[in-house]
């Protein structure tokens, strides 16, 4: 019964979303349709949320007469994973997509700000159509509430790799980011229809771009950390198509966050901001398509279905067709506001956007190239890390080199000489790092440059904070505390980029790995540590049994314990690797248990990694996401001051 109620709520939400689209787009200046649109948007969101709660309930009650529950859940599963199972599969995750889209539509409808009525109601209308498109796809091509007859007695269980705390948080965060990009898209389409994009429009756009970027940052960081400890290969980023699918929208969202500032503060770049909003949402749909259609071979876990992929491509072409069509037709008519000099805050932000957009384009080419070659009969190929390391890394490097200059320049006309003079200490520090790293690493240029860039970013960030408190009277510490939140948020995000750079370079360039065969009692020396296999035994979890290896790790006088497991789930033929990680100030000792030797020696194969400073990668990404949070708080406070 609950499944039917859920399906009914979702169908009703579809009808309301369509109504929201029609009403919102046709609302004129005077009539009350705009108000009605807002009310419909809220009702649609409530119904979607209700439908999604119904799905969670059927998962919690393990109602195996519902197909997705039977295919993805199991009675033995811990409660948290039963709930998370609702979005740990294709159908449920698509319903989550719709729910988030409807929810954002409702929030958009209740935050008009200073936008004109036409812009506001049209953006709510477009968002309604986005929700409707997603609901049509979900209800007709991947119905989450479809029944099975006869119902199986027992579910086949969630893919064991997905039984992990990260499943609870990683997909919803990514979807909040992906769907978050639909709101800037709706706002851009509305502005193009209205033929007007003013500063009030940019003001409405900014929190959405920030929120989408922040969710994507956090979602990607958590996903990357999940892959790091779950896949058992010690890596955190593989330039896999599924990763690229989330990285492209992230790059565009990062560009959008910066260009929207220019549009709001100075009124310029409005049409570029719109173009980015359209591209960003297009890439978000493309990302969903790449992940769900299985056209590209990926190392990450997804069930795939080509037919759904085609439907998703249709949605992508509708969104991009409408977006680019309207853009080509209307954007030239938009008034372009004030100009700026070649050296100014604006120009630095233009460079930032240029670099990020090119990086996104290169990732796109690399990701889709295998499809293009295959379509042209060139055989099956894959484009792997060497390509992306040789193209995207230098581009982002140049971008990071320019980054500290941006905040040091003023709007309209900046003074490059003063900015460079102020940044000189950071430059000197970076040079010292460069030379030291070159000497210590045996003249390996790329890692040395990367580390120097990281130091340049961090030192540059602190110098910026110093310039903000150095001016004027008063105690420096008091002024530091009184700095606007916007300054803190930007500094934190930029410092995070530096921290992430250092972590990424250190982990990639200076990682050690080794495979050993160990019998219980045997020891091995690895990166200043002595590792002893104490024993291998069996343990039991709630719905799995595990082979667990216990290790003793001695480092100087310090002795620590560590265990690594292989888990065998009753519902699945494949074991999963549960690595043991010992984090220290210099990085992680990462131990994955392999298989027992086939001969009778009692030896186990063990893979050892030392990942230097790997935690800085995740710390840096979290700093960036937290910078986004602070910026959102700053924006919402500002609204209250001047309503």
């Amino acid at each position: 019964m609950i499944a039917e109620i859920g399906a009914f709520a979702a169908a009703l939400a579809l009808a309301l979303s369509l109504a929201q689209g029609v009403m919102g787009l046709t609302a004129s200046r005077r009539d009350s349709r705009a108000q009605a649109t807002a009310a419909i948007a809220q009702a649609a969101a409530a119904l979607c949320i209700f439908g999604f709660i119904c799905l969670i309930i059927v998962f919690v009650r393990s109602d195996f007469s519902v197909a997705v529950v039977a295919a993805n859940s199991h009675i033995d599963k811990p409660l948290a994973y039963k709930i998370a199972g609702a979005w740990g599969n294709h159908e449920g995750s698509m319903l989550l997509w719709c729910t988030v889209s409807a929810l954002f539509g409702a929030v958009l409808a209740s935050t008009r700000g200073r936008q004109s009525q036409g812009l506001w109601s049209r953006s709510v209308g477009v968002q309604g159509l986005v929700t409707a498109g997603a609901l049509i796809y979900t209800l007709f091509l991947s119905p989450p509430f479809a029944r099975l007859d006869p119902a199986p007695m027992i579910g086949s269980g969630l893919n064991p790799l997905l039984q992990d705390p990260a499943l609870v948080i990683h997909p919803p965060l990514l979807y909040l980011g992906y769907v978050g990009l639909s709101v800037p898209f709706s706002l851009a389409i509305a502005a193009l229809i209205e033929g007007k994009a003013d500063q009030a429009w940019a003001r409405a756009l900014r929190p959405w771009t920030l929120a989408a970027w922040m969710f994507l940052t956090a979602g990607i960081a958590i996903g990357s950390y999940w892959a790091y400890y779950e896949l058992g290969w010690g890596g955190w980023w593989f330039w896999d198509p599924v990763e690229n699918a989330s990285f492209m929208p992230w790059l565009i969202a990062a560009a959008l966050v910066h260009s929207a500032i220019v549009t709001e503060r100075r009124g310029s770049l409005a049409s570029w901001t719109m173009l980015l909003a359209i591209i960003g949402f297009g890439l978000a749909i493309l990302g969903t398509f790449l992940v769900r259609s299985g056209v590209l071979t990926s190392v990450h876990a997804f069930a795939v279905d080509p037919q759904r992929g085609i439907a998703m491509l249709v949605l992508l072409f509708i969104a991009l067709g409408v977006g680019f069509g309207l853009y080509a037709w209307r954007a030239p008519k938009l008034a372009q506001a004030s100009g700026f000099a070649a050296v100014s805050r604006e120009s630095m932000l233009v460079w930032n956007n240029f670099g990020l957009a090119i990086a996104a384009a290169v990732v796109l080419i690399g990701t889709l190239y295998p499809l293009i070659v295959e379509a042209m009969g060139g055989g099956l190929i894959s484009v792997g890390p060497p390509f992306f390391n040789a193209t995207v890394a230098p581009l982002l490097g140049v971008l990071l080199l320019l980054l500290p200059l941006g905040p040091m320049l003023t709007w309209r006309v900046g003074d490059m000489r003063t900015a460079l003079m102020r940044l000189a200490p950071a430059g000197a520090l970076a040079l010292v790092t460069l030379v030291t790293a070159l000497a210590l690493s045996g003249w390996r240029a790329v890692p040395a440059i990367g580390l120097a860039l990281g130091v340049w970013l961090i030192a540059g960030g602190f110098i910026y904070l110093w310039t903000r408190i150095e001016r004027g009277e008063g105690r420096k510490l008091a002024k530091l505390a009184a700095l606007p939140l916007a300054v803190w948020s930007m500094s934190l995000a930029h410092l995070g980029a530096g921290v992430l750079t250092i972590g990424a370079i250190a982990e990639t360039a200076f990682r050690s790995e080794r495979i050993v065969l160990l019998t219980p009692g045997e020891s091995v020396d690895f990166v200043e540590r002595r590792l002893t296999l104490l024993g291998v035994g069996q343990t039991e979890g709630p719905n799995y049994t595990a082979t667990r290896a216990e290790f003793r790790v001695e480092r100087g006088a310090a002795v620590q314990r560590l265990s690594a497991e292989r888990r065998y789930f009753t519902t699945s033929p494949m074991p999963t690797t549960e690595v043991g990680i010992l984090s220290g100030i210099d990085g992680d000792l990462y131990v994955a248990l392999g298989e027992a030797a086939r001969d009778e020696t009692g030896a186990w194969s063990v893979r050892l990694y030392h990942n230097p400073l790997v935690y800085l990668i995740f710390l840096g990404a979290l700093m960036m996401a937290f910078g986004g949070v602070l910026s959102l708080i700053a924006l919402s406070r500002r609204k209250k001051v001047s309503p």
Partner: protein
């Protein structure tokens, strides 16, 4: 006049960056793509030392371990068997009789040296390349096309 110079300068710089990015991309695509080959195409398509992705089914009963801990197994597309050596822990989903993609280099007379082995993290899934290779040999037994 100064303003126009500035604009020209910015456009020139942007053009230079664009050309650089395009060059990097094309050189990258020329040099660092990896071709997919089936075991029976390996000798003909892969030059000695070139990086390729080898896809096929792991032959039952061929998995064993070398003295140094590296794994050895044979991969087939129904026509030819190729010996693969991989110095690492095989992915959780690796099974004899199932599809696998091994990435690495090959030289005549030696085993295929893999430095990466992909077995999809879903028990029902066969890497698309493997399905293609088996279909090309006319050995496809799956219920429907991938």
């Amino acid at each position: 006049m100064r303003r126009r110079d500035q604009r020209l300068m910015m456009i020139a710089a942007a053009g230079a960056v664009l050309v650089l990015a395009a060059t990097l991309t094309f050189v990258g695509l020329r040099d660092s793509i990896t071709y997919f080959v089936a075991p029976s195409e390996l000798a003909e398509k892969a030059q000695s030392g070139q990086r390729v992705r080898l896809g096929g089914l792991v032959v039952d009963g061929t998995l064993r371990r070398d003295e140094d801990g590296a794994m050895r197994f044979a991969v087939t597309d129904g026509a030819t068997q190729v010996e693969v050596r991989y110095a690492g822990i095989l992915p959780d989903l690796f099974r004899e009789g199932q599809g696998v993609v091994a990435e690495g280099t090959w030289a005549p007379g030696a085993a295929f040296e893999a430095d990466r082995v992909l077995a999809k993290h879903d028990e029902n899934y066969m890497p698309r390349e493997v399905a293609e290779a088996i279909k090309q040999r006319g050995e496809w037994k799956g219920e429907d096309a991938p």
